[in-house]
């Protein structure tokens, strides 16, 4: 399987036919299912065997969303503490994060706050984060109620999904929602200081007056 996915990834990564490129990082405690989540999304595959990720890995997937082709470089990080120096080095380049915990693992849920602090420390100010409670197919072994996840996400200002990589629940939705949020932030970032937008709000009487030269302006 490894070789098959490698060639698939190769084709995807050399493709230049897209509009935007977003970089997304998946973080969370070890064994919460980050790699499985990514494999489900990128390759639509699932392996129950647990193989710990070494340091970092990534997959590329191009999606069509909001009339745009968006190439996603999704970084999968090792949850283990000993790889932390490598993984945190990649926070800075990520536009969005998927912060994952395991609904059958209390400890992984308790660590969410710490992961959130890590994002705040190492990432840009406007980092978009989705909180995902994985393994929601294992209802029998659930220890973290859905409401607790929702409350925590509200508290942290993140959006929240419960998902299952195994049963393919909410996997696609999670990524697509994150892409949408990044798209919103992207527009905001340029419109914030844009005289075209603020000017239009101020009314038509200003249209004949040249706007003052703007530092972000193209011309």
């Amino acid at each position: 399987m490894a070789s098959a996915t490698a060639t698939y990834g190769q084709k995807e990564s050399s493709d230049q036919n897209f509009d935007y490129m977003f970089k997304i990082l998946i973080i969370g405690n070890s064994s919460v299912g980050k790699t499985s989540f990514l494999f489900r999304y990128a390759d639509d595959s699932f392996t129950p065997a647990f193989v710990s990720t070494v340091g970092i890995d990534f997959k590329v997937k191009t999606i069509y969303r909001n009339d745009k082709r968006i190439k996603l470089q999704i970084w999968d990080t090792a949850g283990q503490e000993r790889y932390r120096t490598i993984t945190t080095a990649y926070y800075r380049g990520a536009m969005g994060f998927i912060l994952m915990y395991d609904i059958t693992n209390e400890e992984s849920f308790n660590a969410v706050q710490d992961w959130s602090t890590q994002i705040k420390t190492y990432s840009w100010d406007n980092a978009q984060v989705l909180l995902v409670g994985n393994k929601c197919d294992m209802e029998d072994e659930r220890v973290v109620a859905g409401d607790r996840g929702r409350q925590l996400s509200d508290h942290l200002g993140f959006e929240f999904f419960e998902a299952s990589a195994k049963d393919n629940i909410n996997v696609k939705q999670t990524f697509e929602r994150l892409v949408d949020i990044i798209c919103e932030k992207m527009s905001e970032s340029l419109d914030a200081g844009d005289p075209a937008v603020t000017g239009a709000k101020q009314g038509p009487q200003l249209t004949e007056q040249p706007a003052p030269p703007h530092q972000d302006c193209a011309c």
Partner: protein
């Protein structure tokens, strides 16, 4: 950060991922470069040409005339140019932008520059850590690896030829000096002409120079043109600009539509070639046409205590090779205050890099209120052998709208480098331009003198 703690196999796994990432980034950089080049082309085509008077009512993008009542155009909020209805692109409910401003916005999205800018607000460092981490590790460990997906980058080496040639450079000083003198006398003559309000057409300017034959050919070619042509009106703040503009119109060919100006421009550029390596060369000297890529990082701040405008030149990235044949680049950044040619300053030259990091603070002593109407022109040059400078791009930053009090605006910003075209805010340049009417004639009698 290093991979020392990891076992050899783990390290190999990580390096393999980093290599894949580098491959991806290389492809992406290539895409962005092409995209920005296309944008520059669009901007160049859309720029108001000097051949036309700025006040003329034409659309700044398609150059079509605008009517007084019908299709009178409207001002684009982003660039303040008057735009006809066809050259507008709607951006959501917010309104519209002109084609160039819209394309600029799109490129910012597509290249991910919006993110880099946002990120720079928090990490105003010049070396992008994220980009560097992978590369650094790859460099450190590529010796250890068995798999070589990406060929290792050759180690940087000094351009020995450049060093040895720098000796020759000194020898050529006297010659350069003499040319400088010539230019000074030439310009002073012109000043005299323009100050005396006599009929300039009747005035005859003789430039005696028996040392350089090439100058004769220059002037001869001018004298041979008929009077109508040589007495063209040029608008511009200074002589170097005049050269520059004529060169631009020369490059753009007859797209300006002003035939006479173009033909005159080519004469000037001919003269320029004749007097190659004259000391005015930095702006209008040997010019190799290479495509402009990359960006320049600047931070501007005004120090009220010292009345200094402090410009921090951070870095450049993705520059084109100044010497495309040998894949060499020794970039430096020059700063000017426009209008006028005053206060030229430059950074040191960085060797063998297309991503130089300067972090140099250059200061202009200027009163705050005098910044009104001024613009900062930052040009990037490859300084090749024998003082041969190759233009790598420029950035124009208007200073009067600059919010110096705003903390955000004092941070580093990446500016995409542009062709040395006439600036799109051309109006500002022309405001201070007087008119100059010159005719140069060489009398062959003087040859013996």
């Amino acid at each position: 950060m290093d991979l020392g703690l990891l076992q050899a196999l783990e390290r190999e796994r990580v390096l393999e991922v980093l290599r894949r990432d580098k491959q991806l980034r290389t492809i992406e950089e290539d895409r962005i470069r092409r995209m920005k080049y296309e944008l520059q082309e669009l901007r160049r085509r859309g720029a108001k040409s000097f051949a036309r008077q700025y006040g003329e009512r034409t659309c700044a993008r398609c150059q079509r005339p605008l009517g007084k009542f019908w299709n009178s155009g409207a001002v684009c909020h982003s660039c303040s140019h008057r735009i006809c209805s066809k050259c507008r692109v709607g951006v959501g409910a917010a309104g519209w932008k002109c084609t160039v401003c819209h394309a600029y916005r799109e490129v910012k999205f597509k290249s991910g520059d919006w993110f880099l800018e946002e990120k720079a607000k928090k990490f105003p460092v010049t070396t992008d850590k994220y980009e560097m981490v992978g590369d650094r590790l790859l460099k450190t460990y590529h010796v250890l690896s068995h798999i070589s997906v990406v060929p290792p980058t050759p180690p940087p080496h000094l351009d020995y030829q450049f060093l040895s040639r720098s000796g020759d450079l000194k020898n050529s000083k006297p010659f350069t000096k003499s040319m400088e003198d010539l230019m000074v006398s030439f310009t002073s003559h012109i000043k005299k002409i323009s100050t005396s309000q006599n009929d300039v057409r009747g005035d005859l300017l003789r430039v005696n120079n028996s040392r350089r034959g090439s100058c004769y050919s220059t002037q001869k070619s001018l004298s041979e043109t008929d009077i109508n042509k040589s007495s063209n009106l040029f608008k511009g703040p200074s002589l170097p600009n005049l050269f520059k503009k004529s060169k631009d119109s020369d490059q753009e060919g007859s797209s300006t539509g002003a035939e006479e100006e173009t033909s005159c421009g080519s004469e000037y550029s001919g003269g320029k070639r004749g007097s190659s390596s004259s000391s005015i060369s930095t702006d209008c000297g040997p010019f190799e046409s290479i495509s402009i890529t990359g960006e320049l990082e600047l931070a501007l701040a005004y120090n009220t205590n010292t009345s200094c405008l402090e410009i921090t030149v951070g870095a450049c990235r993705n520059l084109n090779y100044g010497d495309t044949r040998r894949k060499k680049c020794h970039p430096c950044v020059k700063l000017y205050m426009l209008p006028g040619k005053s206060g030229k300053m430059k950074t040191t030259v960085k060797k063998n890099t297309t991503d130089p990091v300067y972090n140099e603070v250059l200061k202009y002593h200027v009163e705050r209120h005098l910044l009104f109407g001024k613009r900062l022109r930052a040009t990037v040059w490859h300084s090749g052998t024998l003082k041969r400078k190759v233009f790598l791009g420029e950035v124009l930053v208007p200073l009067d709208g600059w919010r110096f009090k705003d903390k955000d605006s004092q941070r580093f910003n990446w500016y995409p480098l542009c062709q040395k075209a006439e600036s799109p805010e051309g109006g500002a340049v022309e405001q201070d331009g007087g008119e100059l009417l010159v005719r140069v004639k060489l009398s062959s009698n003087n040859q013996g003198v």
